[in-house]
C-alpha cells in the first residue's frame, strides 16, 4: 500500500446508498416523535375532557396557517429537485431559498403563538398553570415539548437546506449529482409530516 493513499477509503458512488441512509435516519426521527405521540395518546385517553378544555384555547388560525406554510414549503423543496434534475440551477436555488423562507415564516408564527401562551400564563412551572387541572398541565407540557422539538427540527432542516443551497451555487450539487439535495428534501418532508399530525392533535380537539 502506498503511503500517498487518502485517509478515507475511496468508495464507488452509490446514490441509493445515500438515500437509504437518509430514510433509515428518518425512521429514528419518526420514532423519536413517536414516543411523544405514545404519551399524547395515552394522556388524551386518560384526561379526555381536560384535553378538550385546554384545546379550546389553542389558536386554530395560526396552526392552520402554519400547516399551509409547511405544506407549501414541501412543495417548493420537491420543485427544487425537479429543477436541478432538468439542469435549471437558478430555479433550483430559488425554490430552495423559498423553502427556507417558508420555514422562517413558520418559526415567526410559532414565536408569536408561544409568546401569546406564555403571557397568558400557560407554561410549565407558572402559577396560572399550576392552578389548572392535571390534564391541562399535561396538555401544555406535551404542547411545549412536541411543538418545541418540532421547531428545533425546522431550524435544523432550514440549516441543511441552506448548506445545500451553498453546494448548489458552488456546483457541488449538479444536474448529474444531486442526491444530497434529495436527502435534504427527505428530511424536510418528514418535518412536514410530523406537523401534519401535530396540527389536528393540538389545534383541532373539540
Amino acid at each position: 500500500m502506498s503511503t500517498q493513499e487518502q485517509a478515507v477509503v475511496h468508495v464507488q458512488r452509490d446514490d441509493l446508498r445515500t438515500r437509504m441512509g437518509m430514510w433509515l435516519f428518518l425512521f429514528t426521527e419518526l420514532l423519536l416523535f413517536g414516543g411523544l405521540f405514545f404519551a399524547y395518546s395515552v394522556y388524551r385517553y386518560l384526561y379526555a375532557s381536560d384535553f378538550a378544555l385546554a384545546g379550546k384555547e389553542m389558536h386554530v388560525i395560526i396552526g392552520a396557517m402554519n400547516t399551509a406554510i409547511l405544506l407549501t414549503s414541501s412543495m417548493t423543496m420537491a420543485l427544487s429537485i425537479t429543477a436541478m434534475e432538468r439542469g435549471n440551477k437558478r430555479l433550483s436555488i430559488l425554490y430552495q431559498l423559498t423553502t427556507i423562507t417558508f420555514g422562517l415564516l413558520f418559526l415567526v408564527n410559532k414565536y408569536i403563538e408561544w409568546s401569546a401562551e406564555i403571557s397568558a400564563g400557560n407554561y410549565p412551572g407558572s402559577t396560572e398553570l399550576a392552578a389548572k387541572s392535571h390534564g391541562q398541565i399535561i396538555f401544555y407540557g406535551l404542547y411545549y415539548v412536541m411543538t418545541g422539538l418540532h421547531a428545533l427540527h425546522v431550524i435544523v432542516g432550514m440549516t441543511i437546506i441552506a448548506v445545500m443551497c451553498a453546494f448548489t451555487i458552488k456546483d457541488v450539487i449538479t444536474k448529474d449529482n444531486y442526491v444530497k439535495l434529495e436527502a435534504a428534501g427527505l428530511y424536510w418532508h418528514l418535518v412536514d409530516i410530523i406537523w401534519i399530525f401535530l396540527f389536528p392533535l393540538f389545534y383541532l380537539i373539540n
Partner: protein, 103 residues
C-alpha cells in the same frame, strides 16, 4: 464491486404533479379544520387521523418519491410503521382495560 446507482438511473416527477398534490394537501387541511367543528363523538379523532394519514401518504409517495423508489424502501417504511402501530396497540391493551386511574 459494490452496487452503484448514479443519477441517470433515477429521475423524479414533473413540476405539475407536485402542484396538484399541494392543492390536494391544502384541501385536506381545510377539510380537517372544518370537520373538527362538527361533533362526531368518538369518531372525531379517527377522522382527523384518517385525514392526517392521507396527507402523509401523499407526501410520502409523491414528494418523497416513495412511489418510484425501489421496493426495499417501501418495505422499510412498512416495517417502521408496523413497529409504531403495534406499540400503540399493546400500550392500549394496558390502558384501555385499567380499572380506575387516579386523576
Amino acid at each position: 464491486m459494490e452496487k452503484q446507482e448514479t443519477q441517470a438511473e433515477h429521475t423524479s416527477h414533473s413540476y405539475s404533479i407536485y402542484v396538484l398534490v399541494w392543492l390536494g394537501l391544502l384541501t385536506l387541511t381545510a377539510l380537517t379544520t372544518v370537520v373538527a367543528g362538527i361533533n362526531f363523538g368518538a369518531l372525531t379523532i379517527a377522522i382527523a387521523l384518517l385525514i392526517a394519514s392521507t396527507k402523509s401518504y401523499l407526501v410520502l409517495t409523491v414528494f418523497m418519491h416513495l412511489r418510484i423508489e425501489q421496493r426495499a424502501f417501501k418495505i422499510f417504511v412498512f416495517v417502521a410503521m408496523f413497529f409504531l402501530i403495534i406499540s400503540f396497540v399493546l400500550l392500549f391493551s394496558d390502558y384501555s382495560f385499567l380499572q380506575g386511574f387516579i386523576k
